[in-house]
């Protein structure tokens, strides 16, 4: 009798344990995710690099870049038949942070779930559109995470900070040197500073299972202030973050459309899996991200 009770007890405890813990079943369904294409962003500057900008009094200022980051959302591709494929922000949204770049100042944005086919252009938003920010909460799950660290304003209804650029002035003569400190977002709510970048590809991009082609793009950071025509030049200390005018902020945001240029495609790069590259990238994290915090 006593023994029987022990058995019953043991059996039932085991059942109980199992029935409470049934989520273990899903762990092994870890399927590999094929990377459809890679947006390679090669930046013209690295953090710590020196560069020169003109201030609103037309004086040249020597600056050292300390922060450059922006949120990418609403990635879309257009097929050669003019069909637009929109990727979900829960997959394709990304925080491009120069602090995580490799030796060639390059950051890779991995795109998955693009249908197989031929594509002629790619577009993405710098920041988060009002439609997305005011839309479905669950469709912002990844954006919330990307913004969590320091790309959000708590005291603002559209919480996302779209982009940040910061540089310290190397002038040691002046007691109050003009630093570069621009955080863009829909703050205050009267002007929409979300911008869409549209990149025409120099040749057709073929998305297929056996390859992970890459789009090698140059990001010319200085062009935010001195863009190619028809962009309008803007003094780095005229922008709203310095108490300047909203017009300057608008022009500055427009210039985000100007800084990206596709250099060439690598159409036949060997297929890669997202899980492998994510592991790789995370191994750099600790050492790199330290100096990216501005406050």
């Amino acid at each position: 009798m006593n023994n029987l009770k022990k058995w019953a007890f043991l059996a039932l405890t085991t059942i109980t344990l199992f029935s409470c813990n049934n989520d273990d079943d899903n762990i092994n369904t870890n399927q590999a995710t094929h990377v459809s294409a890679v947006l390679k962003l090669e930046h013209s500057l690295a953090l710590g690099d020196q560069f020169t900008l003109t201030d609103s009094e037309k004086n040249e200022q020597s600056l050292e870049l300390t922060v450059f980051k922006f949120l990418v959302s609403d990635v879309k591709l257009t097929t050669t038949n003019d069909e637009v494929i929109a990727l979900s922000n829960n997959d394709a949204a990304q925080l491009v942070d120069l602090a995580n770049a490799d030796e060639t100042n390059t950051i890779k944005v991995y795109l998955t779930d693009i249908p197989e086919g031929s594509y002629k252009s790619i577009s993405f938003g710098v920041g988060v559109s009002q439609d997305v920010a005011n839309g479905s909460t669950e469709e912002q799950a990844k954006l919330y995470e990307l913004a969590d660290d320091d790309m959000h304003w708590d005291w603002n209804s559209n919480l996302y900070i779209f982009s940040k650029i910061e540089a310290s002035n190397l002038d040691n003569q002046n007691t109050v040197p003009k630093n570069l400190n621009i955080h863009v977002g829909n703050k205050g709510g009267n002007v929409d500073l979300f911008r869409t970048v549209n990149l025409i590809l120099p040749e057709t991009l073929t998305v297929a299972a056996k390859v992970s082609p890459s789009i090698h793009t140059i990001v010319s950071i200085e062009k935010l202030f001195t863009p190619d025509a028809p962009g309008v030049a803007v003094a780095y200390d005229a922008i709203n973050a310095h108490g300047g005018t909203d017009d300057a902020s608008k022009i500055f945001s427009d210039n985000y459309e100007n800084i990206f240029e596709v250099h060439h495609l690598h159409p036949n790069e060997a297929a890669i899996n997202l899980e492998d590259v994510e592991m790789d990238d995370h191994s750099h994290d600790g050492e790199d991200s330290e100096d990216s915090h501005s406050h």
């Binding site: 007890f9 405890t13 813990n21 989520d23 660290d149 209804s157 205050g188």
Partner: protein, 369 residues
């Protein structure tokens, strides 16, 4: 003997599946629009309120793991017996003992009807609001990443999130915020004596004094504290005046400035300087102290502030609301709302009819643990 074994094993099941076998969950939550309220602003399409979502949100609201070192929960500063405010604190103390914030805690009630949240309208969607207290150093001082990681370690949360959001691996910031928002959205206070009087229901008998108070309130206060929520939801400078110990307070100016780095000096020039959201006066008897910084300890003092003679006085900033200024034929200004001592007594009696004891004692909103 056999029954004993079964009972023992049954208890074991309860214990191993979750410590709180006695959670009060025996109810259905449906959002009910009170007949006398304005239309809800809550986004039911994005985040419908369900009983399971409400129960999950409630568990989160009362969970200390939302803060650094698991020190405090939301309920620390939003306590049911005080209409979900922080009793005895003018400025709320957070997870760090002795370190207080800059604002007086607000009641969690009727949020499904509000256009903007917090005293200055820092958020315009309820769903984003909890991000503020969780991350603020003076409140819970935690990161969302840590909160989510802590919740993921708990199998009970894994199950609850999956049940509510109908997918595996459901715990993330978006679902977390949705659950909290469902709980808070369902917290409707609409059964005060005043409501019953207004709707002609049983228990709504007003005394002569209360009736007189309501009339006076309509004349003198309802220009701002209007409608059934007792707020027009505008941001207004009501003459409260600067608080010398809170130098960084700028009110609504910080929100509407397009410059994230604007200094206090710059914000002082804004037309929104020291404007605050007109608060709802529901349950006001229970939510003391009063005003954005809790500087007034009781309602008597609030009325002395609003009148045109008794101390404390109204402060005349450039953007003081014109409803608090009257100008005579010589161009001389009187600030405030003239009230006799008897009128104040009547208004106070009326304000007390706004207390909703059903809400304050509603077990569904109470700590489930």
């Amino acid at each position: 003997m056999r029954y004993n074994t079964i009972l023992f094993v049954f208890l074991l099941v309860l214990v191993s599946c979750g410590k709180d076998g006695e959670v009060y969950t025996d109810f259905e939550i449906t959002f009910e629009q009170p007949a006398n309220f304005p239309a809800a602003t809550y986004d039911f399409e994005d985040n419908p309120i369900t009983t399971d979502g409400f129960i999950l949100g409630r568990k989160l609201f009362y969970d200390n793991r939302l803060s650094l070192n698991n020190g405090i929960s939301c309920a620390e500063c939003h306590n049911q017996s005080h209409a979900f405010t922080h009793h005895g604190h003018n400025l709320s103390e957070g997870v760090h003992a002795g370190v207080v914030g800059t604002r007086n805690s607000q009641p969690i009630q009727n949020l499904a009807f509000l256009e903007d949240f917090t005293w200055d309208g820092a958020k315009d969607e309820l769903i984003d609001q909890p991000l503020i207290p969780i991350r603020e150093e003076v409140e819970m001082d935690e990161t969302m990443e840590n909160v989510i990681a802590k919740l993921k370690q708990d199998t009970e949360y894994q199950e609850l999130f999956t049940k509510v959001f109908q997918k595996e691996d459901a715990i993330n910031q978006a679902t977390f915020l949705k659950a909290l928002s469902q709980f808070m959205g369902a917290m409707v206070s609409s059964n005060s004596k005043y409501d019953k009087y207004f709707r002609g229901e049983e228990g709504g008998g007003f005394t002569e004094l209360e009736k007189q108070g309501l009339d006076l309130f309509k004349q003198k206060c309802a220009t701002c504290h209007s409608g059934q929520l007792f707020t027009n939801q505008e941001f207004i400078n009501n003459g409260i005046g600067e608080n010398p110990s809170l130098e960084n307070e700028t009110g609504r100016a910080r929100i509407t400035s397009s410059n994230p780095f604007a200094t206090v000096e710059e914000l002082k020039k804004s037309d929104d300087y020291y404007k605050f959201r007109v608060p709802s006066l529901r349950n006001v008897e229970k939510t003391n102290p009063y005003m954005h910084d809790g500087r007034m300890l009781n309602l008597k003092r609030v009325l002395d502030f609003y009148d045109d003679d008794a101390y404390p006085m109204i402060t005349r900033m450039d953007n003081l609301d014109s409803r608090l200024i009257s100008t005579d034929e010589n161009g001389d200004e009187t600030l405030g709302i003239p009230m006799t001592p008897d009128e104040k007594v009547a208004i106070l009696a009326f304000l007390e009819t706004l207390t909703d004891n059903e809400f304050i004692n509603d077990e569904r909103f109470a700590n489930p643990n």
